[in-house]
Symmetry: D2
Subunit: 146 residues, 4 copies
């Protein structure tokens, strides 16, 4: 669950989450690898809030594995903090979906992420174009900022 | 990889592992949930060292999900420590495999675990008896302590 | 975030969560070790919803490590499912806090858990009695079912 | 534990690991977020094999948090596979340590990673230069490929 917020550049999706003990490490901050799951949860909710259930897409034969992940860590997140993940799409969907993500605590940007996923046909295992209704909806909703 | 050690009660399998940063939490110890994966790694190596590759068993249609897990935490494990997981089998294999595990640091017993797994037929999804060669080998090797 | 629900036996706390891809394994179900973090998130929210912020308790010198965890797996949980964790307290608080947890999907009980935590003084590292206000509030709210 | 291998460009450190069930996801491959811990384990062993124990560095007041992580996923890794993580250093150490990592299965390169860590003074929390003996040893060993 999340919400869409309008900015001057376009719509952004905002997903809330709470830092669990399991996510922390002995440096008393969120383990750097834990953000992969945070960004995953956020983009699945962005799709859901736009009317697309990723689990359903999988059942219908479209997989969406991650092919690139870039994370820049600016400030640590701490145990029990409530964070927001802001997500938007960087360019029109092709066979790829490229996302820009920011993990925020209030006004502070803690982590910036870039995630590239590729649409894959479940039976052949080969890349394919993004489903047309998905591409169109994402653009019409203003989530594509290019 | 690991080794078998003879005790007065029977054979025990010993698996070595190193605590990663990812396993720690902000209490500066191994997160209590991380031991599930430690015990999993240890029992897979016990099977492998006895001549059974679990990944191969799966391909041949035998799954082995966990149905019960009991962990008692006695002392904390810390970052970068080299731990041993000692594993043996509690009673002759039926449709269940019951393991006793100890996570040790030198002579210290840090965590005691009991894990019950069930043999499941991959196609029907129903419980089935343990493969005969597995039951027999485990007993002959002295890994079953009943 | 969660809510309290009245039952014939007492109050139970209900915490909602969504299964992430990161939580699944190749058996296409939630990895058995992932429930430790689910139960942790649920009990922290139970405390918060009752007026106690665990992160604050830690800052004030009360730690609450897990000393025992028992999980019984009845049915698998799947990717993207929305689950509820039902938590109540099994007996009046001493130096220990003993919880009964159920992970549910609708009416189905998927996993039953018992978690024992111990109140520890942060500076001495020794067990101590539960904070009086916490014990009293938990009892008054009907969360203790003994 | 690992080993150093000479290449035409310089030395590379090779760390072996086995894929656990806990690392897989329902796409039947290693979850993309799990590689963060693989790379972490590998670089800690590289340091250890070169005579530097990171846990000891921490005790002596030098922290080394990750400030950037880039992962490119080329081929999936599967359950139970034995993987190698090849690590070398990209440029002479300053206040930063920049690593190039390859996760390999035999000759196949599955994942390519770039990790940037920063040396931080434990008491002040501020960046500082890499310990001189560390910089020198890494260069002398041929681990710095610039």
């Amino acid at each position: 669950m999340g919400m869409f917020i309008a900015t001057v550049a376009g719509q952004v999706h905002v997903h809330d989450l709470r830092v669990r003990y399991a996510d922390t490490d002995r440096m008393d901050m969120v383990y750097h690898g834990a953000y992969a799951a945070y960004l995953e949860a956020a983009r699945v909710e962005m799709l859901r809030d736009a009317g697309f259930v990723y689990a359903q897409m999988e059942r219908e034969g479209t997989l969406l594995p991650v092919v690139q992940l870039e994370l820049t860590y600016k400030k640590p997140a701490r145990y029990d903090e409530e964070l927001e993940v802001h997500t938007h799409i960087v360019q029109p969907l092709t066979s790829k979906l490229e996302l820009h993500c920011e993990v925020r605590r209030g006004e502070d940007i803690l982590v910036v992420g870039r995630v590239v996923l590729v649409f894959v046909d479940g039976s052949s295992g080969r890349p394919k174009r993004a489903p047309e209704t998905l591409s169109q909806t994402m653009s019409e909703m203003g989530l594509v900022w290019s």
